[in-house]
């Protein structure tokens, strides 16, 4: 049926986009001037203890002395060499990618990038972000409905002003304030960190301490997310309330509850799904700023570290993960859209 074709088309789009991302990701980290190994190792302050060893391993593993792409050699010169057709860095890169090999970190040498990303850091980030996204989403929708049902009233205006303020406040500064007041002045929250389960005797004491440490970053993120989403939610609800079918539903003498929750909500939810899909990317990108302020050991902090230490393999892996999640969540959002909104299924 129509729906099936729509989904297949979107799936093909997504796959093409995924492939383009992979290529882009490959090229991005190779357009840096010079040989990637020297580009990496030539920088000062290199924490790699044995550059020579690292270099050999890198070259060997990624075929860095091979041509970059078919007919383009490793110095970005065009060559007529037919061997480069298959025997090039891109092919090696894809092969490695297919078996989940993202390379070796340079900062955490000799640890694998995939090990660094898909470990407790990912879990920390998913827990923190997941919780704050769900919380903020609910609050934003609730406040948005409230504000739109009292359009231009004092409540509405106050909510707008408050959320615009939180939208305009740098998230890391909110974090700093929380650290200052709740740790520095009042001493009711810890300074930061994300407790690791290995350091606790039993699960429940870890869980409690974990949640305790999560309060600061969670509050910070929620304030900032609500600031970003409230106006969207309000605008959507307002838009739906002026639609003709809502007027008709009221004229039909339906109960206001049914008008609000069956007729209006279904339609207002649609655009919010794309907002949620956007938020999915944060699940893996983590909140670099918040995690840095609170020393929350997630992927956001890893990003910061990697930029600071110029750990390109890790950055490359992180970027790929984020892009992949973005594409997949976008696809899922389209799928849900198609299920909820019959107009899309052409």
């Amino acid at each position: 049926m129509g729906f099936r074709r729509y989904i297949i088309r979107r799936a093909i789009d997504s796959i093409i986009l995924l492939m383009i991302t992979v290529i882009f990701n490959f090229i991005l980290f190779r357009v840096m001037p010079g040989d990637p190994t020297t580009a990496i190792l030539g920088r000062s302050g290199s924490p790699v203890y044995n550059p020579g060893e690292y270099r050999t391993r890198l070259i060997e593993r990624f075929g860095l002395n091979k041509a970059i792409l078919p007919f383009i050699d490793k110095d970005f010169q065009i060559t007529p060499d037919l061997n480069t057709l298959i025997d090039n860095q891109f092919v090696v890169y894809i092969q490695k990618l297919l078996v989940g090999d993202l390379g070796i970190s340079f900062n955490y040498f000799p640890q694998e990038v995939s090990y660094l990303i898909f470990g407790h850091r990912l879990l920390n980030t998913i827990l923190l972000m997941g919780l704050s996204i769900v919380l903020s989403f609910l609050i934003a929708i609730l406040l948005g409905t409230l504000a739109s049902s009292k359009f231009k009233s004092k409540t509405d205006m106050t909510l707008i002003f408050t959320t615009l303020t939180s939208y305009s406040t740098p998230v890391f500064w909110i974090g700093m304030l929380i650290v200052f007041f709740c740790y520095g002045q009042l001493g009711i929250l810890p300074y930061g960190g994300s407790p690791r389960i290995e350091e606790y005797s039993d699960l429940s004491s870890w869980g409690l301490d974990y949640l305790y440490h999560m309060i600061g970053p969670l509050v910070t993120l929620t304030i900032s997310f609500v600031g970003a989403w409230f106006l969207i939610a309000r605008d959507q609800m307002l838009g739906v309330f002026t639609e003709d079918y809502i007027t008709t539903a009221r004229a039909k003498g339906l109960k206001e509850r049914r008008v609000m929750f069956v007729h209006a909500r279904k339609n207002a939810m649609l655009p919010m799904i794309s907002v949620l899909a956007l938020a999915m990317t944060y699940l893996v990108s983590g909140a670099t700023m918040t995690e840095t302020v609170f020393n929350w050991n997630g992927l956001g902090l890893l990003t910061y570290e990697s930029v600071y230490r110029q750990d390109y393999p890790v950055l490359q892996g992180l970027l790929l993960l984020v892009a992949a999640v973005a594409i997949i969540s976008n696809f899922i959002a389209d799928l849900i859209y198609g299920l909820l909104d019959p107009r899309i299924r052409y």
Partner: protein
């Protein structure tokens, strides 16, 4: 035996209160609608037709307030009802086809669902058998309005404009209302479909002894289908009467000019005489007769005093004009 009219609107005034002005969209309007009769309400855009209709079902936008008047449906004043009572009255007694009806259906629910929901709501009790019964009714309704009953589960976007309009009429008939208000139900349709929908409305009105208020600015449509006609100008009802009276014996200068602007109505070949000028700003209406700035017959008195709405050629023909029936040169 004295028969009470189905709907009696007495001295209705509805104004819109804006930040710095007050739009007198409807002022002292009175008319009646009989059972099984169709009243056509005509007038230029912005003269308050929709406001009259919305006042009847009390669905005015927040700025709109009913200032005075009575709206008696079967001798019960709708304006005295509580909000909840009014909600129950809607669709059960009075149903409404909105001006921009094409978007009247919720795009994410199928058409049948949107009709059954009102049948179930107005039926009072909720049970599985009622639901089944409601779906059966929807199929019957579809048949009545000339739609394929197999398509009850279609979504609105799968219908053409004309089919949607039929479905809307089916929805309007769902609870067997006494009164149907149709606000420009055919304006968005092409001429052939328009004709079919009009015929359908006419047939339903006869078969179900339905009172209908039919709003349009197209006089030729009214000439074809309405028994009674009301002409509005700038928030005032200036003339009512039976269709034949109005079209052959219209007494108000505005009525006459309006009819001249639609030469095809009387089947004569005359020049089209478009109306000169624009309707007044209702936040600041002219004194006296609101038509005087555009009226060829205006005299001094017209500017000073509002003419009464009074009987003219018969008890059912009322006109508000000092020089009613005089010839326009």
């Amino acid at each position: 035996m004295i028969l009470v009219a189905l709907l009696e609107v007495n001295d209705l005034s509805t104004h819109y209160f804006l930040k710095e002005s007050r739009v007198r969209a409807v002022d002292n309007v009175s008319f009646t609608v009989e059972r099984g009769k169709m009243l056509g309400l005509a007038g230029e855009s912005g003269c308050g037709k929709t406001t009259v209709a919305l006042s009847i079902i009390r669905m005015l936008p927040p700025a709109g307030k009913i200032i005075t008047g009575e709206i008696l449906l079967d001798n019960i004043d709708l304006l005295k009802k509580s909000k909840e009572e009014m909600r129950k009255t809607r669709w059960l007694d009075v149903s409404y086809v909105f001006q921009y009806a094409m978007n009247a259906f919720n795009p994410v629910m199928n058409v049948g669902e949107q009709i059954t929901e009102v049948i179930i709501e107005k039926g009072g009790i909720k049970s599985r058998s009622i639901k089944k019964e409601a779906w059966k009714q929807v199929r019957e309704l579809f048949e009545i309005v000339g739609l394929d009953p197999e398509r009850v589960k279609n979504y609105p976007h799968e219908f053409s404009g004309g089919m949607k309009q039929r479905a809307i009429i089916a929805m309007a008939m769902a609870c067997n209302p006494k009164l149907l208000i149709a606000d420009e139900p055919v304006t968005a349709l092409d001429v052939i479909v328009e004709k079919k929908i009009l015929n359908l409305l006419k047939k339903l009105q006869k078969d179900f002894n339905l009172g209908v208020i039919f709003i349009t600015h197209d006089l030729s449509v009214i000439a074809e289908s309405c028994e009674e006609v009301g002409i509005m100008y700038a928030g005032k009802l200036v003339e009512v009467g039976s269709a034949t009276t109005i079209f052959h014996n219209g007494a108000h200068p505005y009525t006459k000019m309006l009819i001249k602007a639609f030469p095809s109505i009387l089947g004569e070949k005359t020049y089209i005489e478009p109306l000169e000028g624009i309707p007044p700003d209702l936040a600041n209406p002219p004194t006296g007769c609101r038509f005087h700035p555009r009226c060829p017959l205006a005299i001094d008195e017209c500017k000073k005093k509002v003419p009464f709405f009074k009987q003219y050629s018969s008890s059912r023909h009322l006109v508000a004009c000092y020089r009613a029936g005089e010839k326009i040169i």
